[in-house]
Amino acid sequence: MHTKTIAEIARDLAAGEYSSVEITTDLLNRVKQLDGDINSFITVTGEQALAQAKAADERRAAGQAETWTGIPMAHKDIFCTDGVVTSCGSKMLSNFAAPYDATVVEKFNQAGAVSLGKLNMDEFAMGSSNESSFYGPVANPWNKDHVPGGSSGGSAAAVAAGFVPGATATDTGGSIRQPAAFCGVTGIKPTYGRVSRWGMIAYASSLDQGGCITRNAEDAAMMMNIMAGYDAKDSTCVEQPVPDYTSTLNDSLEGMTIGLPKEYFSSDLSADMQQAVRDAISEYEKLGASIKEVSLPNARLAIPAYYIIAPAECSANLSRMDGVRFGYRCDDPQDINDLYKRSRGEGFGGEVKRRIMIGAYALSAGFYDAYYKKAQQVRRLIKNDFSAALKEVDILAAPVSPTPAFKRGEKTSDPVEMYLEDIFTISLNLAGMPGMSIPCGQVNNLPVGLQLIGDYFAEDRLLNAAHKFQQATDWHLKTPAGI
């Protein structure tokens, strides 16, 4: 039961093969037995899940079931859940029971989904390995000595380990696509503004975007059908009609042109990673697509621009964590400044403090033009590169990461080395366009991801291209040993 897809569970529930209570119980038992080694969950909400499942079964018995009624899933612990601890992977919010549901959470609740709980993540979504979580690192189900990627490492590991068929996730610089690649599952980062950020704890507000991690593109389309759409409560959410993403999955790729950004196939990418990605591209040629080399000349500037913009925005966003209205407060504060400084100094981990300090420095008097404005200008150059490339081709195909999942502890001593992990994903957040990661091979018995990139609001095209690939290949069906 635990390797079923969302679409399969929907069919089985409708056919009465099993009830939502049965599959929910089965998955909760799996989490209890197996998550000790993986640590993908921060909070398991077993009682609430069973209550939701029971209510779903009753709706079905009454003939009121819809597509999502009774389907189990879980949320990244960055999405606020009413009355349930929403920690964002931080000591700072380890006592924060959110007083409301995020829009994304509310939408899944409305649709009748069953949430098993809250998933582990890098602290405040800052990291590429899920090693910065206050709740400890997450293990990659393919090899438990390796990282699952980050920041949505819990979401990717939980899907790969067969705990849930799908999970919400967020992506500010690669945090959906890279963990999906490392764990051999499918991830989509939608266009900036496609999914409401209301109740999604802010890291870098002009880059953050909610999305999902699933076993395949069809399930991602089903999740996007729920998540996407306008929300008056998020002022950056875009008012655009939402198509039925499942309706175009089977469209032919005949005549599609796929661009390969030459800068992404450079020496940063090892020969065996390069081979896995090129094999996937050959598969697309068999499906009728034509391939064309394109150029993103400012690609190398994406990481430097990101490490001004994201820290600057996070230093502003995280100023609300002050020990006054919610979250962690230090013991026995001597005065207000002591309360702020020790609550924040004790409540935040090292990586969060580094990024806040870089941001505070870049925004301090006299440096604004040299850092933040400069980075915003470079950001436009990067966006213009993507727009020019996507005039020549329909979508882009690229690697997701320079290597497969690395070993835990391998990159924690040097933050800059960790930052370079995101070299192929980060520019897309600066441009604001949608991207996916789908499994396309293996290197050293670890999954390799293929990144697909589309123009604004071309999620339907990406899901279509991903689905056709998955109809022709079986990389997405492979599971870790013992799962």
Binding site: N95, F96, A97, P99, T191, Y192, G193, S206, S235, T236, L301, P304, A305, Y307, I308, S315, S319, D322, V324, R325, F326, G327, Y328, D335, I336, D338, L339, Y340, K341, R342, R344, G345, E346, F348, K353, R354, I356, M357, I358, G359, A360, Y361, A362, S364, A370, Y371, K373, K374, A375, Q376, Q377, V378, R379, R380, P415, V416, Y419, G432, M433, Y456
Partner: protein, 95 residues
């Protein structure tokens, strides 16, 4: 660009972050290497480039100036560390 230890202390003060003395050297090293990374931007000619704040160049959306939220003070204060009579309590600020 290398920061000195006093600059690290000043930034931490700006950001209201208490750092232990024995951590200053490590922050100095790591923050300096991050600034080295971002300094690559200074070599790029951006003289005629408009800064980009929003991927879709959207403007701030406005709504009618009407009351849409009800008062939920008690509910929202349930997650506060310390409150009294509807106020958030902090150490004395004014003597």
């Amino acid at each position: 660009m290398a920061l000195d230890q006093q600059q690290v202390r000043d930034i931490a003060e700006l950001a209201r972050l208490q750092l232990d003395d024995n951590q200053i050297a490590e922050y100095q090293k790591n923050l300096s290497s991050i600034l080295d990374l971002v300094d690559q931007l200074s070599a790029v000619d951006t003289s005629s480039v408009e800064p980009m704040a929003h991927p879709l160049d959207a403007v701030q959306r406005l709504r009618a100036d009407a009351v849409t939220e009800e008062n939920q003070r008690d509910h929202f204060q349930q997650c506060a560390p310390q409150t009294e009579n509807g106020y958030y309590l902090v150490p004395r600020v004014v003597e």
